[in-house]
């Protein structure tokens, strides 16, 4: 929904005219990060911490990898007297009861790429549907609008599911494109597992042309798949697209013989900065123009790799 944040005062546009005499309150901000396995999580977390400190706040950082632990971490942060909580990645509604309890204590809630809920005060995300759709279209374009697709996914991540479904939707539009195989990667130990499974898929479809495209729902597994494809000597006939904008994916794409052709880059740094800045506005008692902020993804191919 679009519920305005409860702490909102009047719809102001200018900065508040508070007297700068009283010592500024040091806001404690708790952040909870879901696993530490990919670049998005890491850069996001680091930037969140930096930006909180830059805003004069104090950070309480927690990292958890499953839902009950995440809930425990939230409760612990509340006990510690935080003023706001930022949830990064995963699905914020999975821990709704703990956050609703926190909210009742006057704590602000922010979501960074972790989905929306009516108790969320600030929500910054990439549009995963858009990321998935654009990556899929680019892949199909590279494939010449025909051929077989392998999908690499893991149902356990909400954004991964959104990306996968977007791809399915796009594929429907092209009668000559078909999803013929796919596999789930292990998490967080995805790299060796992803590579081994891609190898098995390639053994089952050994001829050039058996597979035209590999849709990796995030760059990490795309890298693993690209390795397997290169080793199988199928670089010329298979294209890999990923999502994330992982620096390692850029390095891979820059190689002349890489099957890794495109990624939809997210911008975790901007996302993190935006979420923190908006949150601090609310903490200071100001209003913010937009509760739900999209940080657009950028399509990166060999031609526009950022430095």
């Amino acid at each position: 929904g679009n519920t305005p944040a409860p702490t909102t005062a009047a719809p102001t546009t200018a900065a508040p005219t508070e007297a700068p005499t009283e010592a500024p309150k040091v806001f404690k901000v708790g952040i909870n990060n879901f696993g530490q396995a990919n670049f998005f999580a890491r850069i996001g977390k680091a930037t969140l911490e930096e930006q909180i400190v830059a805003n004069g706040g104090e950070v309480i950082a927690t990292v958890t990898a499953d839902v009950p632990s995440r809930m425990t971490a939230i409760e612990n942060m509340v006990s510690q007297g935080v003023d706001a909580i930022i949830i990064q990645e995963g699905d914020i509604s999975q821990v709704a009861p703990a956050l609703i309890e926190a909210k009742a204590k006057g704590i602000l809630i922010a979501s960074m790429d972790a989905g929306d809920a009516d108790f969320v005060d600030v929500f910054c995300e990439s549009d995963n549907d858009q990321l998935g759709e654009m990556a899929a279209r680019k892949m199909i374009e590279f494939m010449g609008e025909k051929g077989n697709v392998v999908e690499i996914f893991n149902d356990a991540g909400s954004m991964i599911r959104v990306r996968k479904e977007a791809m399915h939707r796009v594929v429907e539009e092209f009668p000559d494109v078909e999803i013929v195989a796919g596999f789930t990667y292990a998490w967080p130990d995805f790299f060796p597992d992803g590579k081994a499974k891609m190898e098995a898929i390639l053994q089952a479809n050994p001829n050039p042309g058996d597979i035209g495209g590999v849709y990796a729902t995030f760059d990490g597994v795309g890298l693993a798949a690209a390795q397997a494809i290169r080793e199988a000597g199928l670089t010329d006939s298979i294209v890999v697209v990923g999502i994330d904008g992982d620096p390692e994916a850029y390095i891979e794409m820059a190689k002349p013989d890489s099957p890794f052709k495109a990624t939809m880059a997210q911008d975790p740094e901007t996302m993190a900065r935006t979420v923190v800045d908006q949150l601090f506005e609310l903490l200071k008692g100001n209003t913010i123009p937009e509760r739900h902020i999209y940080i657009p993804g950028v399509l990166i191919t060999k031609d526009n790799i950022p430095q």
């Binding site: 709704a96 149902d155 599911r161």
Partner: protein, 326 residues
């Protein structure tokens, strides 16, 4: 010879062996209380108890299995399966008791399968329950494709009370947990069931010669474990307001750690109900206290490892003074 002083010294060692881990726990508790102003508050302590309630209940079931010398690797995955069963039946029927019944039946069924292949067919418990866990994992992903199931607005109140409600200031899961702790301590120490389970754990051959139906009792322990997983899963689902197919996988290793801690306390090398409670408290207190102190997460892993080792060392080193060990 100064017999009396010797007796006293040995009794002290024996006391330390039984209560060494507890002492360790109290020490850590005190440190947290002194260092973090928010740790030793009523609110935080109640929250800590609520956090540990699910782990405790699962570990209590595991105590039966381990007491009989067995092992159950399926508990983590089964938690997720029951989360789903509970939510689906609840949403489908809007009847909490039906959903609870279905969950317990499902837990008992998994336990029955585990118990049958371990006790009656005779497979090694570790590998058998591991394989069953893998099947359960496949099943729950087959059903949900990984999607969580959220409660709609119109579910019965009691379904959220179980995990989120309070009786006075006390969270309801805490009351449930304490009830089960007392029940398990009672069953394990005062009834024939408990006596026979520990006898089987101590010497299965002798138990057989003593006329105990070893297979049946081992089966029972797995069923108890399955049912306790079901109860914990219902609390978890209620607490989360949604069924997460993967929620609860972490319980496996934590429950194992808790039960091993339990073996170092109170009893004579077998896990006890009270030991399991203290063990779950230690593990949960570390999670809570270290977050309170804002220790970076990787240091939390290191600290947790170090603390567990020290807690066990206290008991083991003292136990050694007492008897020959290999």
């Amino acid at each position: 010879m100064e017999k009396s002083t010797l007796v006293n010294k040995n009794q002290r060692v024996e006391l330390l062996r039984k209560y060494g881990t507890v002492l360790g726990a109290m020490l850590i508790f005190t440190i947290f209380a002194v260092v973090s102003e928010n740790f030793f508050t009523l609110n935080n302590q109640l929250m800590l108890l609520r956090q540990m309630s699910m782990l405790t209940i699962i570990a209590l079931g595991f105590t039966f299995v381990m007491g009989a010398g067995g092992f159950d690797m399926s508990i983590g995955n089964t938690t997720g399966l029951i989360n789903i069963v509970f939510a689906m039946v609840l949403i489908g029927t809007k009847n909490f008791w039906l959903a609870l019944g279905a969950s317990i039946a499902c837990g008992a069924l998994v336990g029955l399968v585990n118990g049958t292949i371990v006790a009656y067919i005779g497979l090694p418990d570790f590998i058998a329950t591991f394989a069953i866990g893998s099947i359960v994992y496949g099943l729950k992903m087959l059903i949900t494709k990984g999607n969580p199931i959220f409660f709609p607005a119109d579910i019965p109140k009691i379904a959220s009370f179980i995990g989120q409600g309070y009786v006075g200031k006390i969270p309801f899961p805490v009351i449930l947990m304490l009830f089960f702790v007392v029940l398990v301590i009672f069953v394990l120490t005062k009834t024939t069931l408990g006596r026979r389970i520990y006898a089987i754990g101590g010497n299965p051959v002798a138990s057989l010669y003593a006329g105990i139906n070893v297979k049946r009792y081992r089966l029972i322990t797995f069923v108890i474990s399955g049912v306790s997983v079901a109860i914990a899963a219902v609390i978890l689902t209620s607490r989360l307001g949604s069924a997460q197919p993967l929620a609860g996988e972490e319980f496996l290793l934590d429950a194992i750690a808790v039960c091993f801690l339990s073996t170092t306390m109170f009893g004579d090398g077998e896990p006890t109900g009270s030991g399991t409670f203290v063990g779950a408290f230690i593990i949960s207190m570390l999670n809570n206290g270290l977050t309170m102190l804002n220790v970076p997460y990787y240091f939390q892993y290191i600290t947790k490892g170090v603390v567990v080792i020290f807690a066990v060392v206290i008991s083991v080193v003292l136990a050694k003074k007492l008897k020959l060990k290999l």
